[in-house]
């Protein structure tokens, strides 16, 4: 029998399809294009020159994530706001020391995380966020897909194969406003650590390394949390788009 090579819609690992999917493959594989070194150098030069517009663009793009991450380490929102303000001042005062070894974003979030942790400890927050997030990743959770969707282990032909396979979605339908609302809602219901990882990775397009670095978690835990988050959000979209997948 001839072995047929089934053409996948895309190959996430080899990046064989260089077409419009290329950006997505990068994104899926955590190689999202972030500001390149050249762009960072230019931005740093503009900041040093006192360019308000450059500063405010950076503040708009990083501010919401900075506030969320600071908030995970400290006890209330007002304290998180203070930490973010202190961080920006430290960033501005430290621009001359930024050497471009990491991305500007990574450097800023390192300063933020250090300050937020210090502040959290000083205020007597007992359990550091990294401990919470690591415990979350280590704790057992249910399977990614409802086990009822699969045949039992003793099925003669397809042990643990799909009994109710996923239905094909159209991109148009998935990107409709209502569907995006369902997705947002699903993300908001996730445990803190999963929510933060999927927001940074998939909503904001950060790389795996950047997320692990900013949240001070291991690569493995970053993947575990991302997996749980994506699985749950997919299931929520499915419940909305095809409420009753039919058994094969």
């Amino acid at each position: 029998m001839t072995a047929f090579a089934i053409r996948l819609p895309f190959d996430p690992l080899t990046g064989e399809d260089g077409g419009p999917m290329a950006w997505l493959k990068d994104r899926l594989a955590g190689r999202a294009k972030t500001d390149g070194r050249g762009a960072d150098a230019e931005l740093v030069a503009r900041l040093r020159a006192g360019d308000e517009q450059a500063f405010m663009e950076l503040v708009e793009s990083l501010g919401p994530s900075m506030l969320r991450i600071a908030r995970m380490h400290v006890r209330d929102r007002a304290t998180a706001e203070e930490v973010v303000q202190e961080t920006w001042l430290a960033v501005l005062n430290g621009l001359d020391r930024f050497e471009g070894r990491s991305s500007l974003r990574t450097w800023i979030f390192r300063i933020l995380t250090n300050r937020a942790k210090t502040r959290g400890e000083r205020d007597g927050r007992v359990v550091p966020f990294s401990a919470v997030i690591n415990a979350d990743a280590a704790s057992g959770e249910g399977p990614s897909v409802d086990p009822d969707r699969f045949f039992p282990a003793d099925h003669p032909k397809y042990p643990y194969g799909w009994a109710a396979p996923p239905v094909a979605w159209t991109q148009e339908r998935v990107l409709e406003r209502e569907t995006l609302e369902v997705l947002k809602e699903a993300i908001s219901r996730l445990p803190d650590s999963q929510r933060e990882v999927i927001r940074l990775r998939d909503v904001e397009g950060w790389s795996a390394e950047e997320v692990a670095d900013a949240l001070e978690i291991s690569d493995v835990n970053q993947r575990v949390l991302l997996h749980r988050a994506r699985s749950k959000v997919r299931a929520a979209l499915e419940a909305y788009l095809d409420p009753t997948p039919e058994a094969a």
């Binding site: 979605w169 997705l183 947002k184």
Partner: protein
């Protein structure tokens, strides 16, 4: 080339999708994963749904910074500029 020894089931595959997409599977696991996909349209369909989930997440707008924070940071920048 030696074929993957134990075939992967669909139920196992869905637990490995993220490791696969992140390029984190060991070579032999990756071979099992790919061998399964080549023979299983429903699992290809599942990965396609994950792909669309990620695409859709990228379209979600993050909340804007509130005006008070923006003003405070702008004032901070102006203060820093003055030295």
């Amino acid at each position: 080339m030696t074929g993957p020894s134990v075939p992967l089931s669909c139920r196992e595959l869905v637990e490995l999708v993220t490791d696969y997409l992140e390029g984190a599977l060991p070579a032999d696991e990756q071979a099992r994963f790919q061998a399964h996909l080549e023979a299983c349209d429903p699992c290809v369909g599942y990965i396609e749904q994950i792909r669309l989930t990620v695409t859709a997440a990228g379209r979600v707008e993050e909340a804007d910074l509130d005006p008070a924070s923006r003003e405070a940071l702008l004032a901070e920048f102006r203060g820093w500029k003055r030295g």
